[in-house]
Symmetry: C2
Subunit: 239 residues, 2 copies
């Protein structure tokens, strides 16, 4: 039935992932993708059904490798008797992320850019898609961060995790431009690994920062309902 022509799907996925990473999902047309992939325009709808599903397939190629790896790293940390400190928790991302380079050339950079696009472009279906498939893993991450920052109220943690997500996503979306500037002005060749390593101390310090009681803040007494809190932190963490 099928054999030698499997690669049409691959050609589409490869072309799509690079164009998506460069220009975002909304600003990349199926015509650009099929032209670059040297396949017929109708192939995308034939093989993937729709543009939406193509976007999900492109991300899924990386997620199905990354997420199980992260999951097992999280389990290792959770199994420890002593609580982990925050930099160690964040550091577990490094290896699984860099292993994506073995999946595909520049895989790590591409995946992170795609993740950034998933947030900044309006792609509600991606949010749902990721959380539906990998919500359990994300739960473990939130738990680990909570354990490593026991002094932080849940609400503060919620905001800081999103601040962090913003740093990551924004940096990765504009990653190439930033790397070029860094190279030109500081003679520093910063690859994706370098950026990740620079992010960790920044994020660790930010997340664990002392809570500052602001003058103007009129906060309702923290009256939160426990279970929903964690679920929602993680739900909104996914794309």
């Amino acid at each position: 039935m099928m054999s030698s022509k499997i690669n049409t799907q691959q050609k589409i996925l490869d072309a799509a992932q690079n164009l998506f990473a460069e220009s975002g999902f909304n600003d990349t047309s199926l015509r650009q993708i099929t032209t670059k992939a040297e396949v017929n325009l109708a192939s995308v709808n034939y093989h993937f059904g729709s543009k939406k599903e193509l976007i999900q397939a492109v991300l899924q190629r990386y997620l199905q490798i990354l997420m199980p790896r992260l999951d097992q790293e999280f389990d290792l940390l959770l199994a420890r008797t002593k609580p982990n400190n925050l930099p160690d928790v964040l550091a577990v991302f490094v290896k699984p992320l860099l292993e994506l380079n073995q999946v595909q050339r520049k895989g790590t950079r591409t995946f992170l850019q795609l993740l950034g696009r998933g947030y900044t472009d309006v792609q509600g279906h991606l949010r749902w898609f990721i959380n539906h498939h990998y919500g359990r893993t994300l739960d473990k991450l939130v738990l680990l961060v909570q354990q490593s920052c026991p002094h932080l109220p849940q609400s503060e943690l919620f905001w800081r995790l999103h601040f962090s997500l913003g740093s990551i996503v924004f940096t990765m979306a504009s990653n190439e431009a930033l790397a070029e500037i860094a190279l030109a002005d500081f003679d520093e060749a910063v690859d994706i690994e370098g950026v990740i390593c620079r992010l960790i101390p920044y994020l660790s310090a930010g997340i664990a920062a002392p809570v500052f009681n602001q003058v103007t803040q009129i906060t309702t007494p923290p009256n939160m309902n426990e279970g929903a809190a964690k679920r929602q932190i993680n739900a909104s963490l996914s794309v």
Copy 2:
């Protein structure tokens, strides 16, 4: 010649700013804008020339108020003999930003959302527009941060300022959704002021975090050229 019908431009600007803030520039059509503003479709091109120029006009309404205020705050800090600490530098944003609420209801939130959209949507002309008009003011900010963090190499500062920009921009772009979650799960009504106040300790700690010498990092010796560095940090800071 003109008198009572000035408000067509205002109606367009008001409708456009809210739709832009909600859905981004690319995903808001002139038809949506003119429908909401209850004006004719052709009015936008008649009064503003093009969609691009409308986008700039929407942002300009806030920038021309905010930036001079920031500029004078920066000058005050720069005039001090003792170096300022980082939280104080970042804190000067609070008042000028909140004053935008007097310009328009929910002005602060709207402006920050628009700024976020300016980054996440691909709007190269906005980058140029802001830097062209307000580059001098941004220079002063970079200088202040440098002074308050003398232990940081320029390249590290460069990256951390962008990490911070990502936090701000991303948080503001998804501000409403986050605020809703916070309200539902933590019984915390977090307005835009609350978010800004939460951001400051996070950003301060992140930017000023100790530099961590990563194992894997193979960095070329810091060989930077002084003037270009500052210029580029700020150039890439603008939208």
